[in-house]
């Protein structure tokens, strides 16, 4: 900022400050290329409309002799936008040093200078699009949600949400536009935010259009054989994405550090920020692409299918935060699932067949022992955990290969034993509920005053703060506090009603199958009522979420969590603080392995069979999920909630790809690309830390 005051002199004298040299580096060349591509794409888009290849509006107009109003508007817009992009690119090329936003806001250049004009035009365009969107939905031209709603008399919930978002977009862009025109300094940060949001939103639209591309490609041909079809799906979002990226890059030139950092700081606060963005992108993209996606059936199925991955991912995340890997999780999962089922049916370690609860405990102890071996091998030998657990990955796999004769599939049903029922007193449940209630009360007393106090402080100090987003901050923090409060109130209500219900029938013993308890189908939920037969939600999902909450609490609120971060972030410093690095690492290996055991129990409870290769390849899936969820491979950074989001992204991705009927040959390819994109977003928002 110190240079800013002297910029005008330099401009006058033809000198370039070091700051201004930035404009000619490789980053800037990329921006110019982006702009040229945007321009050419826009012109191609208009050309296709004008020649009648690409139809919009009333489709009945087959003859294509005349263009309708929407097409004329789009074609004209495309031409203007294409020329503007090319003009801006040319402007950047022509000037050895392009005036930055700083120069404009400081009043040294006019609105006509290349980057400034493009930024202003983009914000104006977004404002117009928002208004157009609202108008189209309200007049019923753009039906959303249930397509059957032909009469268009009323507007459904989804449409109201879209209208709401449209109003928000119009306000945001309109306000930014006014700031820009008035040369208000706040415009800089606002424009950055707007272009970032546009990139993300349009990426989602691009994604939902992109996964449909193969449906317009003629058989045996390529995307080039049906350019209008492909353009119709992706051109508009692609043009907006490229424009917004160019704008964002332009705005980070001659950086106003306060604006750039405030965005990144905000995003970097949470390790799961990238995952949240990715999950939102998937949810929006797939629900645009398939009406079956955002349905209770699909969500329940995705959750139930990913209980195993989800529980194992908790452990591996904890371990990775403390700086170590465990590649043997798949083998531990398979081996402990086998021990569990054998303990109930044939007996293991020379013991007779036993009660399911004892069998479960035995398999957990066994899993913990395997994890203990991993940890001790690591500490005693000093070999990297990648190698140690690669070895145990193979070694532990021998357990099922030896114990299962001739590669059979061990099935509980083959032994003709009835399901393991357990009886317990209602007082046990009441005690559990009371404990849950106490934990909830503790959390509420600890957190709620802080949260609402924060909101109050923001309101009181509103006039003194200079942050560019003070009003947004008040609204979001108040909303978030309200959501948390409501959730706590709902849980408290659930606990009270549960206790009241149980107290009314204390004289009977409760009887439940162990399998149903661990991972049975949930038939009704407190608020949603009875679940229809096609909704397959399992109790395992409940245990998974409970474990996420417990371990997130341990990680963020308890001393042990702090030790874990310290050990992973800087083992030497942790040791100097008196933390036993080895003990923390071994404990985390054991926790990770025990959680694999828990996953094994839920798996057997649902599927009822174990084969020798169970869990093969699990390790890569859960490590990928953790990394998507924001864990650093180097340790010291991450969150359990992030791991939950990572697993959800993985699971919903597969569900979504099946629902849209993705060609199986490109299935893995799409999965891989999306994982990389998710991690790239993560790294981008985290860059400010390093």
């Amino acid at each position: 900022m110190a240079n800013a005051s002297s910029s005008a002199d330099m401009l006058a004298s033809g000198q370039y400050s070091p700051e201004r040299k930035l404009l000619r580096n490789s980053k800037f060349t990329a921006t110019i290329i982006l702009l040229v591509v945007t321009g050419l794409l826009s012109l191609l888009f208009s050309e296709q409309i004008l020649t009648g290849w690409l139809a919009f509006g009333e489709r009945a107009n087959i003859s294509r002799r005349e263009l309708n109003l929407i097409e004329l508007l789009l074609a004209a817009g495309g031409i203007v936008w294409g020329l503007l992009s090319l003009y801006t690119a040319w402007g950047f090329l022509r000037h050895p040093a392009t005036p930055s936003m700083e120069d404009y806001l400081g009043g040294r250049v006019s609105l006509r200078s290349p980057g400034v004009l493009f930024t202003t035009a983009l914000i104006g365009l977004l404002f117009a699009v928002s208004i157009f969107l609202i108008e189209q939905v309200l007049t019923g031209w753009l039906p959303l949600g249930e397509r059957a709603n032909i009469s268009r008399r009323d507007i459904n919930t989804i449409e109201w949400v879209v209208v709401g978002l449209g109003v928000l977009g119009a306000l945001l862009n309109g306000r930014t536009l006014i700031f820009l025109l008035r040369r208000d300094r706040r415009a800089w940060a606002w424009a950055q935010w707007v272009s970032l949001l546009t990139v993300l939103l349009m990426m989602m639209a691009l994604f939902s259009g992109g996964i449909d591309i193969y449906s317009v490609v003629p058989p045996g041909g390529t995307a080039l054989d049906n350019i209008p079809g492909v353009l119709e799906l992706v051109a508009l979002p692609l043009i907006l994405v490229l424009s917004a990226i160019s704008t964002y890059r332009y705005l980070t030139l001659a950086v106003d550090l306060s604006a750039d950092q405030s965005i990144r700081n905000r995003l970097a606060k949470s390790p799961g920020a990238g995952a949240i963005i990715g999950l939102a992108a998937l949810l929006i993209g797939f629900s645009l692409a398939s009406s079956l996606f955002l349905e209770p059936r699909a969500i329940a199925s995705a959750l139930s299918t990913n209980v195993t991955n989800g529980i194992v991912a908790i452990g591996i995340t904890l371990l990775m935060i403390s700086g170590e890997f465990d590649l043997s999780v798949g083998s531990i999962f398979g081996a402990s699932a086998l021990i569990f089922i054998l303990a109930m049916t044939e007996g293991v370690f020379g013991l007779p067949p036993m009660n399911a609860v004892i069998a479960a405990l035995l398999s957990l102890v066994f899993a913990g022992f395997l994890g203990f071996i991993n940890g001790v091998l690591l500490i005693r030998t000093g070999i990297p955990s990648f190698i140690v657990t690669l070895g145990t990955l193979l070694a532990y796999r021998a357990i099922p290969l030896v114990l299962i004769p001739e590669g059979r599939i061990i099935r509980y049903a083959d032994y003709g034993i009835p399901d393991p029922f357990i009886d317990f007193s209602p007082f046990l449940l009441i005690a559990l509920l009371v404990m849950g209630g106490l934990a909830l009360a503790y959390y509420a007393i600890r957190q709620l005053p802080t949260m609402w106090g924060g909101v109050r402080r923001r309101i009181v100090t509103y006039r003194e703060t200079t942050a560019p987003f003070r009003d947004v901050a008040i609204v979001t923090s108040a909303l978030w506090s309200a959501v948390v409060t409501a959730a706590i109130a709902g849980l408290a209500l659930f606990i009270f009603s549960g206790i009241a219900d149980l107290l009314s029938r204390t004289d009977e013993m409760l009887r439940i199958s162990f399998f149903d308890l661990a991972n049975g189908r949930i038939e009704s939920l407190p608020i949603f009522g009875r679940l229809t037969a096609d909704i397959n939600l399992r109790t395992g999902v409940f245990w998974w979420f409970l474990l996420v909450i417990v371990f997130q609490f341990i990680l963020t609120q308890m001393r042990y969590g702090g030790f874990t971060f310290a050990v992973g972030g800087n083992a030497g410093a942790a040791r100097a603080q008196g933390i036993s690095v080895s003990r923390v690492k071994i404990t985390n290996f054991i926790i990770c392995a025990v959680l694999c055991g828990v996953a094994g129990i839920t798996f057997v409870s649902r599927v009822g069979s174990v084969n020798a290769n169970l869990g093969d390849g699990l390790e890569l899936e859960v490590i990928a999920a953790s990394v998507i969820g924001g864990v650093l491979l180097t340790g010291g950074y991450g969150s359990i909630v992030g791991a939950l989001l990572g697993v959800l992204i993985f699971g919903l991705l597969r569900t979504g790809l099946v629902l849209v009927g993705m060609d199986p040959r490109v299935f893995f390819g799409v999965q891989g690309i999306i994982i990389i994109v998710a991690v790239v977003i993560n790294t981008a928002v985290r860059r400010v830390r390093t």
Binding site: S301, P405, G407, I409, R411, D414, N613, T655, G661
Partner: protein, 329 residues
């Protein structure tokens, strides 16, 4: 009881190995010697049945036979086992051909020595071309016709039930596996002929994941009423999906490949119409028998011998279960 059986089996194997060793040492008697070289061995239940077929044939012929392979799986090692096979001075050699080049030198030396060679289980990919190995013929299953058999059964059952197949799906658990792709290709050839659409679907060997994928697939494609599974683990996933979704046994025409206790039960419960068995016992037994007939009497069949598709369905599943216990299936 099972433990005793296991100990007995291990003992028998050891005894067999010792007696074969003794037999090789004293190979100067009149008995013929045959060798079988393979890419898979005793740790896989499939190969145990093939080996039993070989041993039964050799007992009948009073011949010395040796199975040469890694215990689990080994492709490159086959070249070494071929050297061992020729060192036995055999009357004939059976071999699998997962990779022709690995064993080419051995097979060509056998041809120079006038030792007959029969390919079993895995056919020579270059058969019928200039690069074909100098072997007699192939004894094994045809995956493509297995797929055809399953698809034809589905259409026949649908016609018998008075409905029609509206859409099919072939699930594949290991993409790019040539045997599995051939099974799906067989199914698809029938569907293309009938003009009925058929999808392919990626699943996994994990029944829980497979059940989730199937649930999603059927939500998006409610008109699909025929499904083709390619193995025991995928069928396990189908079973889980059917149990949890509560679908009626007759609402989905389903078939599988290969065998397992769960597949037999699904056939008995009416969830599977049939499963394709490649009859591994025949691959061991017939290879020895034809090596004997060819080496002694210069006999040969008119072409390749297919041991599959053998069909297991409701009509023979009970008998098959007994035979499985006996080690023949």
């Amino acid at each position: 009881m099972r433990k005793i059986a296991r100990v007995l089996a291990a003992g028998l194997l050891a005894a067999g190995a010792v007696s074969v060793g003794v037999g090789v040492a004293g190979a100067q008697d009149d008995a013929l010697t045959f060798a079988m070289v393979s890419h898979g061995g005793v740790s896989n239940p499939f190969w145990i049945v093939v080996i039993k077929g070989m041993e039964d044939a050799c007992t009948l012929l009073d011949a010395n036979c040796q199975w040469l392979s890694e215990p689990d799986y080994g492709l490159e090692q086959m070249a070494g086992y071929w050297d061992d096979a020729l060192a036995l001075n055999p009357a004939g050699v059976g071999t699998t051909v997962p990779d022709a080049e690995v064993i080419r030198s051995g097979v060509e030396r056998a041809a120079e020595l006038d030792i007959p060679v029969i390919v079993f289980n895995t056919a020579d990919p270059g058969a019928g071309t200039d690069s074909a190995l100098p072997t007699l013929f192939y004894i094994g299953a045809n995956e493509f016709t297995g797929g055809i058999s399953n698809a034809q059964r589905v259409f026949a059952e649908a016609a018998a039930a008075g409905t029609s197949v509206t859409r099919g799906v072939c699930t594949i658990q290991e993409q790019g596996h040539s045997g599995l792709e051939a099974r799906c290709a067989g199914v698809e050839s029938v569907f293309d002929e009938m003009g009925v659409p058929i999808d392919r679907l990626n699943i996994t060997n994990n029944p829980e994941e497979t059940a989730g994928i199937l649930s999603d697939y059927f939500a998006a494609n409610a008109d699909t009423n025929a499904i083709f599974m390619l193995g025991p683990a995928p069928s396990s996933g189908l079973n889980l999906y059917l149990q949890e979704s509560g679908r009626e046994a007759g609402s989905l025409f389903a078939t599988s490949h290969d065998t397992s206790a769960e597949i037999y039960q699904m056939i008995q419960d009416g969830y599977l119409l049939q499963t394709i068995d490649q009859q591994p016992y025949l691959q061991g037994f017939q290879t020895i028998m034809w090596l004997y007939l060819n080496s002694q009497f210069e006999m040969a069949p008119g072409g390749d011998i297919f041991t599959g598709p053998g069909v297991i369905d409701g009509s023979n599943v009970a008998a098959i279960i007994d035979l499985t216990a006996g080690g023949y299936r």
